[in-house]
């Protein structure tokens, strides 16, 4: 199993706010969250979030349950509306509900914890639906592209099956192919391996590492610290709805600055 990842050349004196030029990105801001706030009733789930994801960068969001990291991820394609602040994608602010929002979501790939493959459609149809219905691509061209993507994630031979006939790891790889079929500018991963059996986690992470190596811009909410270390350009640590710390993976895991992060790492690295 080749979980090659990127080789990390990290100099000791790196600041916490690493620019993407130092990491995998080209330095151009792609996703910008500016003073973003969100409340669920009295609960302040996103607190004054400031985050810039650069083109080609892999940002890994980690933190304890209920820290708001999934909400943050879902806010970027407006599956969760925000109450204050602005989110821009490639310079364009997120539009309100409607056709413009649908068009924007087509540019943002999303992979869910629970896969969410369309249960009534075959694997091939799952991957073809977006290109055909949203992009207006002809069926035979869309099928050719879908088969290529399914081959790339290693489930090409399952194309005629229904989602329920596949293992969790296979389903999640199809979900990644489905998102890639839209040729998105950025991919969001909302705990993509949390619902998987341990032995299936690596097959999904392999696909994600491969994506990162091909230069995809990614925001990954995960508990997979190995992935954060090998494929991440930057780690964003969240707790209680706020970004507590931002650093390179190397710096974050070896020398966390905040007490909250030290406490969190102490707990997860204990066993």
């Amino acid at each position: 199993m080749a979980r090659t990842g990127r080789v990390w050349i990290v100099s000791g004196g790196m600041t916490t706010h690493r620019t993407a030029a130092e990491g995998g990105g080209s330095g151009e801001p792609l996703v910008v969250l500016d003073h973003v706030d969100k409340w669920y009733g009295d609960l302040h789930v996103l607190q004054d979030i400031e985050l810039t994801v650069h083109r080609g960068e892999v940002v890994v969001v980690i933190g304890p349950s209920g820290s708001g990291k999934s909400t943050l991820c879902r806010a970027i394609n407006r599956l969760e509306p925000i109450d204050q602040g602005t989110i821009t994608l490639d310079g364009e602010p997120l539009p309100a509900e409607g056709k413009e929002l649908a068009a924007l979501r087509a540019e943002v790939g999303m992979v869910f914890q629970s896969f969410n493959l369309f249960a009534h459609k075959t694997i091939l149809e799952n991957v073809m639906l977006g290109p055909v219905k949203v992009r207006g691509i002809k069926k035979d061209a869309a099928e050719k592209r879908a088969r290529e993507l399914l081959d790339r994630v290693g489930v090409g031979h399952q194309a005629a099956k229904y989602p329920a006939q596949l293992s969790g790891g296979q389903q999640q790889r199809v979900a990644i192919a489905r998102a890639l079929a839209m040729e998105p500018k950025v991919m969001l991963f909302d705990e993509p391996t949390s619902a998987l059996d341990p032995e299936m986690i690596s097959e999904v992470l392999d696909v994600m590492v491969d994506l990162a190596e091909r230069g995809m811009t990614m925001v990954v909410v995960t508990h997979e610290m190995g992935f954060a270390r090998t494929a991440g350009d930057r780690v964003v640590f969240m707790a209680d709805g706020a970004i507590v710390e931002e650093a390179t993976p190397e710096q974050f895991f070896t020398n966390p600055q905040s007490d909250r992060a030290k406490d969190f790492l102490g707990k997860i690295l204990q066993h």
Binding site: N77, L79, E97, K99, A102, A103, L104, R105, A106, E107, V108, G109, M110, F112, S114, F115, N116, L117, F118, A119, H120, L129, G130, K133, V134, Y162, A164, Q165, A175, R178, A179, M182
Partner: protein
């Protein structure tokens, strides 16, 4: 059973007439009910309010009142049509509220993640409904939709009583009131006619349910 056997041709034409009322009402109520169900889950508040108001009003009003409004109320405000059109329209309107609610239960049974995934690849609300949510909602709503439609089949007799004429129910009325046949054999014949329709529908529903069942 002489009254039935003597008038088999009359029964047959009544049976076909009833099938006509049922067919149109089935088509109309499914289409209208589906649109209403989509309204009720739409992100647009005014559409949701319209759907809710429709269901509340129509579902809580007796069918006979709906039919009175159609057949006698509408002509008062200058809308004229045949009793057949009024009758079928009334039955469509009445049944649509029940179709809407049965389908909505099916929509609620579809995992939220399905619609989220559809929206995440850029499908509009309409596409999300027609491509992803409704096809799955229909599958899990087959049993309640079946009950609603079988109730409609029987309600078609009420439409018949409203002067649509020549349907299965009216055949019974004609044979007893106008031609003086005894009630029991005549009505037994009418009942058998309805049973043929409803029992066949029940068998077809069972087949449909098995055909569309999906693993989840």
């Amino acid at each position: 059973m002489e009254p039935v056997l003597d008038n088999l041709d009359l029964y047959w034409s009544g049976f076909l007439r009833s099938l006509g009322i049922i067919g149109w009402s089935l088509l109309g109520s499914m289409v209208l009910g589906t649109v209403l169900a989509a309204f009720r889950v739409s992100p647009v508040a005014s559409l949701r309010a319209f759907g809710t108001a429709w269901v509340t009003l129509v579902r809580n009003c007796p069918l006979t009142i709906v039919l009175f409004f159609m057949a006698f109320g509408l002509p008062e405000v200058g809308v004229n049509a045949s009793f057949y059109v009024f009758g079928v329209t009334g039955l469509v309107i009445y049944t649509s509220a029940f179709v809407c609610e049965a389908l909505r239960s099916g929509i609620n049974a579809v995992d939220r993640g399905q619609a989220e995934a559809a929206r995440a690849i850029g499908l509009t609300f309409g596409q999300t409904m027609t491509q992803v949510v409704l096809p799955q909602a229909f599958r899990s709503a087959v049993p309640p939709l079946g009950s609603v439609q079988i109730a409609m089949f029987k309600n078609s007799a009420v439409v018949g009583a409203f002067g649509v004429g020549a349907d299965l129910f009216s055949v019974g009325k004609t044979l007893t009131s106008a031609q003086g046949y005894a009630y029991i054999p005549v009505l037994t014949g009418v009942a058998i006619g309805y049973l043929v329709i409803t029992l066949t529908a029940g068998v077809l529903l069972g087949l449909l349910e098995r055909k569309v069942a999906i693993a989840r």
